[in-house]
Amino acid sequence: MGLPKLPIVSDPGLDEPAKTLTPQKIEEVINRVIEKETAARLRVYMKTCVHCGLCSDACHWYLSNDRDPRFSPVGKVKQTLWEILRRKGRVDADFLKECSRIAHTECNVCRKCSMYCPFGIDIAYQLLLVRRICSLLGLVPQFLQDTVNSHAVTLNQMWVKQDEWIDTLQWQEEDARDEVSTARIPLDKEGADVFYSIIGPEPKILAQLIGNIAQIMAVAGVDWTMPSLDGWDNSNMAMYSGDFETMGRVERAHHEAALRLKCKRIVMGECGHAFRGAVYDGPKWLAWKEPPIPLIHAIEFYHELLTSGKLKVKQKFEEPVTVQDPCNVVRGRGLGGKLREIIRMTCADFTEPEPGLEHNYCCAAGGGVINCGPPWKPSRVKGNRVKAEQFEATGAHIIITPCHNCHSGIEDIVAGYKLGMHVKFFSEILMQVIEIPDDIKAS
């Protein structure tokens, strides 16, 4: 078809393990996964897909790469899973390296394509299946695998040790009390209304967000706690690498930490994939139909605080803003409406992105893609040109992204396409607009 050659990216996580794989091992693993771990969905999807290509328009990778068919959702399945099944698992290591490149680094499993497939085929599920096979064979981009190793060893994503965790919370509590005198980060408080959990990168590189939430909780008068032991990290990269055993352990630890403290519900920070893991991918793997404890995302929590009057807006944020709809809480939980409500309550000049809500483009960072690290960054930024064009058309200065993956991914897009915009979490907007009562304002 005369398609341009794609740049070759070297990644030790793929190149090194590929050298030791034998055809027998590959065939055994593939057939085990297909036989033992799949049933109705895979079989029916294979029989139902009529190769119509109508899923293509959903995918930001496809649209951004000048409609290169190798980047269309079905094109990615064709190059990986169809070939694996057609050859009954008799594929070589080099082929599987390509599979990992496609499934781990060029698909965000954002599930928009299943909204465009007339049959509702879950294409992301099929690419996750490819990731599963690659993961069991040890073929995972190195940076992503490192986060999974961290999950497996420490139950958090960033190798944060327990003393570092507590130390960071104390430091942030002190900082928060410089602004709000009653700010506290209560550890291990039994029976608290809210068990607040965050992702590993917050204590590691974005600690000020923890200080922010301490202030917000104090102003709103929320009875909350965080755990001092494992289970504080709600992120889960194992869910995306294909290491579902580790995914299950991480999710179980998170829910059990909240149950151990007898908290009434879990409130999760502004992260999309973590929410997906806690609400359905994790429980499904653990054979729980629903999460064992009520669980809401930060968007819902802030919506509650703002509509109930626990947080009052002093003066609306003036600069023009737009929004990034995180797949896992908008397409994955229908929170797009509430997200807009809280933005309108706090911001004076909001421009809707087009397309928006469930149809918004993914950030191209989620689904574990940004965690594949620097080697894959150029293709990731190139693979989301449509996102840059979409933001540019809004004329906004600030992009509100209530998700960590979106936040980092959009920052890369803003820099890569020189958009001159800034990316903010919603809590950062809140910090600028909420009224801190005089009696608790630090002098």
Partner: protein, 215 residues
């Protein structure tokens, strides 16, 4: 030969079609039970909601973006299913064998609708050949399936107009129809059976689990 084919083949084809579809359905159910995370998540409300948005033209965003494909797809599928059922010649034969009969489309309407089916089939063929994202995922079997679906209409049209030897053409037409019926349960034409279920599952997962729309 003519007798044999016209008398038996059609019933054999129907029997294979019905039994094949039943087999696929039972198999689907067994597999869905095996994959434990399917049935507990399905709800009637979200299944029907999703199905409605995908069987009403332009009710989903992708149907509006690809409006030409939407129009052609609906015409193709409607005619493909309804035309054979309401064709005078078919009704007369059914009535002759079993008794009951029902209203039919006029001969000239049938002619035009057949031409329409063939034009829509040509559209699908051109789409496969011309759109890179479709050609990239096209296999010889995709052309074959399109040919299987179009063949009964081509041969029926030729036979009706008695362009070649009438009796031979009718035989070919019956064989083409039988091939299509037999192919449905065992090829990707089985989307006829699976469509409501894949849609219902995705509708349920989007609606019940994720509280979101899937159109």
């Amino acid at each position: 030969m003519y007798d044999l084919i016209s008398r038996y083949l059609v019933w054999i084809a129907f029997a294979v079609f019905v039994i094949g579809m039943a087999y696929q359905f039972v198999n689907l159910y067994i597999q869905a039970k095996r994959e434990k995370a399917i049935l507990p998540y399905m709800t009637w409300k979200h299944s029907i909601r999703s199905l409605l948005h995908w069987i009403v033209p332009f009710a989903s965003r992708n149907m509006r973006i690809r409006y030409e494909t939407t129009i052609v797809t609906f015409l193709f599928h409607l005619c493909l299913v309804l035309l054979p059922i309401f064709l005078t010649a078919h009704v007369v034969m059914f009535s002759f064998a079993w008794g009951p009969s029902w209203s039919t489309v006029s001969a000239s309407a049938a002619d035009w609708l057949t031409v329409l089916v063939l034009l829509t089939a040509v559209f699908f063929l051109l789409r496969r050949l011309m759109l890179p994202e479709v050609r990239f995922v096209t296999f010889p079997s995709d052309y074959l399936l399109l040919a299987i679906a179009a063949a009964p209409f081509v041969t029926g049209f030729i036979a009706r107009h008695q362009w070649f030897d009438y009796e031979t053409m009718v035989l070919i037409h019956i064989i083409a129809g039988a091939v299509m019926l037999i192919a449905i349960p065992f090829t990707r034409l089985s989307h006829m059976l699976f469509f409501p279920f894949t849609r219902a599952y995705m509708g349920s997962e989007f609606g019940a689990v994720r509280n979101a729309r899937d159109w």
